[in-house]
Structure formats: C-alpha cells, structure tokens
C-alpha cells in the first residue's frame, strides 16, 4: 500500500447523500479478478449516459474538477455492499482523500487498507468546504495526516480525528497482514486454549 502523509490538491464537491457502493462501482465491474483498472468505471451510471458517452453535468466530468484528488461529499458515503472494488475504483481514478460528515463502516475501513484517507468532519465544516470548492474550483487544499489538519493557505484550517493505529499504517504504508503474522505465537496459543475450552469450534 502507498503511504499517505501529505496531499496538496484540488477538491471536487460531490453534493449527494447516501452514495452507496453500487453507485461508486456498479455490479458489472465486480467480475474482475484484479484490483486495478477500475477508475474508468467509477461512478459509472452518473458519469456516462446510456451510450457510454460522458455526462457533462456530472461534477467529476466538469473540466474544472477533472483530476481532483480530494472528494467532498454528503453523509453516509459508501453505504451498502462491502465491495472493496469501491475504494479500488476511487483510488484508480486518482482520489486519495474523501471528506464527509459520515461514512459507512465497511467502506471507511476498506479505504484505509488502500491508502485512501477518509476524513469525518462536522456537517457545518463539510458544508463550508463544499461551498468553498464550489466557488473556487482551483483552490488547492492541503491535507496533512501527521498534523491532522485540512487547510487552504491561511484561509481556513480544520483539524480532524483519526484512529492512531490506522494513522500509523497509512503514514508508513504498512501491510497489516505482515504485522499480524509476527504475532503467530500469540495466535497459536489462543487457538490452543480455545480448542480445549470449546472443542466443537
């Protein structure tokens, strides 16, 4: 996984609530056996019309927001299916940070595993950011994971919370399977006791 430390980038306002993972990446793209190449299909039904042509009204298709690396969006982002294809697709289209007032648990978790930083802010701050980037598409927003801040020059600065373990993994680009495998002895010990106490398991 690629580490996430600091990001200075443009942000796009995707002002919809309850964006589910079926919207982020529809079913027909889940048939892949790879993790890569999904970016072109992200937000497929919003992004393309029935003939497969780009829908000019969709915010991420507008020239001023193309290539934005930060997404600002409505509450309950990523609800629904557990498909990790959703963060894979978002990452593959170049987005590294998502800011919302709330995320669905599984999507939130999946994002960290792929080097994407999902940030939860109070609704008022999300609304303010949404307005800011709608009014100023060229604005460069800086997200600093170490300091846990979102700033735009000296115009504004918000601080955010992040789970310390997830922060460490993101900053270091750590593979948590490798970390857990170092604890093999503890796991084996636990397993042995469990087999004695509850042999039917």
């Amino acid at each position: 996984m690629e580490a996430f430390t600091k990001l200075s980038a443009r942000a796009a306002p995707l002002n919809m609530i309850n964006i589910d993972t079926d919207i982020i990446i529809p079913k027909q793209f889940l048939k892949t056996v790879k993790r890569t190449g999904l970016g072109v299909s992200a937000f497929y039904n919003l992004r393309y019309d029935d003939q497969g042509a780009e829908n000019p009204d969709f915010i991420l298709n507008k020239p001023e927001y193309k290539g934005a690396e930060i997404l600002i969006t409505g509450e309950n982002f990523g609800c629904g299916s557990s498909r990790e294809h959703a963060p894979w697709a978002i990452l593959d289209m170049g987005i590294r940070c998502i800011i919302s007032s709330s995320f669905a648990d599984i999507f939130f978790n999946n994002s960290f595993k792929n080097g994407i930083l999902p940030i939860e802010l109070p609704q008022k701050q999300v609304d303010a950011l949404m307005k800011e980037v709608s009014d100023n598409p060229d604005a460069i927003i800086e997200v600093d994971l170490k300091k846990q801040t979102i700033t735009r020059g000296n115009k504004f600065s918000y601080s955010f919370n992040v789970d310390p373990f997830r922060k460490r993994c993101l900053l270091g680009g750590l593979d948590d399977i490798g970390l857990t495998m170092q604890k093999n002895n503890v796991i084996s010990e636990f397993e042995k006791n469990r087999n004695t106490d509850k042999p039917w398991i």
Binding site: I17, N18, K31, R35, N76, C79, N109, D176, W200
Partner: protein, 466 residues
Amino acid sequence: MEPRTLYQKIWDDHVIEQSDDGTCLIYIDRHLVHEVTSPQAFEGLRMAGRKVRKVENTLAVMDHNVPTTDRSKPIEEKDSRIQIETLRQNCEEFGVQLFDLLDSRQGIVHIVGPEQGFTQPGMTIVCGDSHTSTHGAFGALAFGIGTSEVEHVLATQTLIQSPAKNMRVTVNGDLPVGVTAKDMILVIIGKMGTAGGTGHVIEYHGDAFKALSMDGRMTVCNMSIEGGARAGLIAPDETTFKYLKGRPMAPQGADWDKAIAYWKTLFSDEGAAYDKEIVIDASTITPTVTWGTTPEDVVSITGKVPAPSDFDDPNKQESVKRMLDYMGLTAGTKIQDIAIDKVFVGSCTNARIEDLREVAAIAKGKKVADGVGAMVVPGSGLVKAQAEAEGIADILIEAGFDWREPGCSMCLGMNPDQLEPGERCASTSNRNFEGRQGRGGRTHLLSPAMAAAAAITGKLTDVRDL
C-alpha cells in the same frame, strides 16, 4: 463483574491481544468465501507465499455470478465464468472446501452457512459480503469485510478491530396477521435511518423476535447493514438449538452438550448499558414497502408516496426529489396504485423455505397477472429440493412463476437476471439502490407474501386484502 451485553460477551471471548491505543486483535471462528470478493485475496496470499491458516474453518461457495438457469450448460458470460473458475482453482490450490455449482448444497453463502450448521452461537463469523450480518440470528458476531480483510483472515484467522457501540432494538407484543419479519426490519430501518446503526452492533430484543423462527430472525439480522450496523444479534434460545441439532457441521455427541451449556450463557446481562435504543410496539407494524432508493424510504402499503416537503432536512429534500424522479413516482400517489412489471422472490434476505411457503400460500390456485414476469430463486439447492418435495414448486409453477436454480440472482444482477431501464420490480431482496437490479431499474422492497400478492394483482397490494 459489570453487566455485559451479548455483543461484549462474544467480543471479550475473542480478543487475542489489545494494544495501548485500544485496537484489538480478534480471533475469527468461521470464514465464508464466495467468488466475487476473494480472487484478489487469494492472489495476495500467492504473491506472498502464504497459506490459508485454518482451512477447516473456511467454507467457499459460488453464488453471486451463477446463472439460475440450466446448470448443465456452460456459463455464457465470460467474466462470470472466469470468476467462478478462479474460485474453483483457488479452493483446490489452498485446500478450502467448496460447494461447487452442481453440488446440491450450493446456494447463497448466507443461506448455506446456517443450513449446514457451520454458523453457530457465540462465534465470530466473517465473509467478504455485507449481508454476513444474517448469521447474527444465531447469536454469532457476524459481519461483512472487504477483500483486504478477507486476505487477512485467510492468512491469520484474525482481524484487527476496535470494539463497536451497543444498540438495542426492542419490539414488544405480537405481530398482526399478514405482517412478517421483513415488515419488522423495514419499519426498524425506516425509524433508525440508513446510517442510524453506523458504528454499532444491534441487538434485537423483545417477544416479537423471540416468537420468530430462525428463518424470520435471519431476515431481520440480514438487513441490519441497511441500517448501517455491521452486525445484528439475537440471543440464542431453544428455537436456535432446535434448528441446529443434527445439521451436518453442528457439534455432535458430547460436544453438543458442552456447546449447549456455553450457548445458554449467551444473553445480555440485566442492567447492561446500550449507547442507543429504539422501542417499537409490534401491533403498530403493517405490511411495508419502500418507495425510494435507500432502504430507509419505507411506507405502509396503505400509505402514499411522500413529497420532498414532508422532510425537514434540506439534503434529504434534494435526495427525495432525485429519488421520485428515478423511481418515476409522483408525490401523493397511493402506494396500492403503483403497477409493477417484475416480481423477484429470492436473495439472502428471503429465499429460505418459509419464505417460499409464504409465497405459495398466497399464490395457490391463482395466476400471475398478465404482463408481469415473476421469478422465484430458492436460496440453496437444499431449499429448492425441499420446496419441490413439499409441492411448493408445483403450486408456483402452476401459478405462472418462473422456478429457478439457486443463487443471488436479481438481488444484484451480476448474472443475466436483471431489470431493464424503467422496469418496476416488487422484490424480496434487501437493496433498492439506483441501478442495483439493473441500470434504470426501479425496486420496491417487500416481504415474500407481499411480493406474491403483487404478482397476482400486477400492482403493489395489501396482502391482508387477498
């Protein structure tokens, strides 16, 4: 000791190690695997030269992509065929037990696990599928995970997690006639909202849940995720034990007695604390359907399509406008005036034997309305065989339903079972998201009995009137 919730008891029993920041390494007892969310995980193992740590606690089945038509023919769709073939190869290479396409035990992963007795009380159960919450009906802590975590569990039989909050949903009293477990959970989600359970594990409490069969309890727990909760729980009781006894993978002999003794300790202690509570009176629940594109958009079958102005939150108002447009509905329309094109009976929510009995009871001696395509997809090969043995299949076929092979089917339309743009479907599945059942498709979620009623009349119908 402080009184603990059922969730806390199961959690505590699985913590291997807790770090200073509160993150825990927890042990996973059971891992279910299907073809869509596992290929990249197996590939990860292969690249790192890792093995599956506990093959005997891992069970694989193909369900999402499988055609529901004649299984003796090759799968036409190339990508689906590759994904199914990949699961087959991975299971062989890593030594994981697989219920293959022609195995009578094949079916939807969340129907197969309980049916085999693979799912048991007090366990931690995961699967790369959000509807893993289904297994919570047995008093197991069961939740969906992403593919990275599937790989983590395959390699280590553990997960790194922080404890969730506790939420209690109590439904007291008796359900009125014509009202089912599906109506209960739709009403609950309507009340809590699609994000109301985020960060929580829900425990379902009260005599209305106690009175449910295991099939009904699974329907309830299955949709916990639609309220944002990764897991739902119902404390195990005699109904649970009776269901499990004699299942192929359930404990046998002396182990059975030991297991029962442990399972009887799995309930929330008197005075245990909850972070959130919802209480509903069962007698107020009516047959319920969804009108919008999130599962919280529910309305009684006797109600009307709402207007944006019925909601306070401006973001929700915007969303309601969009939903009415997508659904092709006008505010104020009577729900029972909504005509449908398709009926789908199936999915991990409602494709167990009792669901099919419910449909047959309504459909018996009647005909599917002209112009309506109605499809029944049993949850597993064993459910299908039982329904055929009980005469349910004959009743349904006679009534004009299409009787299919088991799989996820039109719940998400990864196989050819999909809605056409603009088609309206009465569906017993769990998600009414935009495009879920096919691009431009319009989904109304409801119970199996209500789906049968809609099939007969050609519109959303109050099953109590039939």
